[in-house]
Assembly symmetry: C2
Homo-oligomer: 158 residues x 2
DNA sequence: CGCAGTCACTGCGCAGGGCAGTGACTGCGT
DNA sequence: ACGCAGTCACTGCCCTGCGCAGTGACTGCG
């Protein structure tokens, strides 16, 4: 029976593997839908209601607005999203997710969704609280860490 | 005070955000090191001792062996890894991580590593067990789901 | 009412990755 | 003993996604 210390290191080791395999699953789903993982990522942001602004979405996706324009082109072509004019500001537009391929998406995500659902149902309140806290604070920590990275670049360009 | 059900849905919502922000942090670290995130991912696999075989690493990274050859070229150029001959089979080679840029890498990961360490230290055994179980089984589930994706592709190629 | 700032968008160039083919090498079957 | 199929890393060629920098449309502040 492992003690606290061992469990903590086990968690620290399991974490990056989990993130990695999840990212690969994400990429696999995207490939099955004949779509890039960036498009899929953006679709998640849209369905999550995070934002509908191109500039903001580009920032969240870590890319330039120019690249996002073409990302939107692809997403419209693939029937993932559509452009709509912003009535309040004629320079802007709003990005709206399309329901067209939702069934397909849901089907591909089903196994993972089922796993998460079943697994979480088995946890008690204290365990769930710990998990939620770790995930939400981890998200904040990752975002802070991303924007506050120290400058240590010693690029080798040879 | 939220009940079990609310906590479970909160966890289900927090999960993809955590994975997403972590992936973006990963990309940010890679950019700071003037390296692609694929190179960084491979470096993690190497340091984790997962494998030293090019074919296996290519599979784990979800890419072709041809692409991996050039990935290795870049990693050698960036002093992240090196090639060494496999004494047992002269067709093969082994990939070895280089210590050269470990300090830089550790410095960039420090904030996240510190967060994880502190956060895990606050959890009791039962909570840690739940977390580790969720992560390890989630990793397995993601890998299985990746390889067993149903065929629902209705690509729009117009 | 002009002018700086912001919006989405557009050429251009680059780099990463797939595909398919190549030569080196292994080990199994005969 | 030896040929041959299989596997290894590797290499052109191509496509695509993205950054960069510049453009025109539009907004709102001075």
């Amino acid at each position: 029976m492992p003690d606290q210390r061992e469990l903590a290191t086990a968690a620290a080791l399991a974490l990056p593997r989990f993130v990695g395999s999840t990212a690969l699953f994400h990429a696999a789903v995207a490939e099955r839908m004949a779509v890039t993982s960036t498009e899929l990522h953006c679709l998640h942001l849209l369905h999550g209601g995070v934002s509908d602004s191109p500039t903001e979405l580009a920032r969240l996706l870590g890319m330039s607005t120019g690249a996002f324009t073409r990302l939107l082109d692809r997403m419209e072509r693939h029937r993932l999203a559509e452009r709509a004019p912003d009535p309040a500001d004629r320079r802007r537009l709003v990005v709206r997710p399309l329901p067209d391929r939702m069934a397909e998406l849901a089907e591909l995500y089903a196994p993972m969704a089922r796993f998460v659902g079943e697994r979480l149902a088995r946890l008690d309140r204290r365990q769930l609280t710990a998990l939620v806290g770790f995930l939400t604070d981890g998200t904040a920590a990752a975002e802070r860490a991303s924007s506050e990275l120290p400058d240590v670049t010693q690029a080798i360009t040879s």
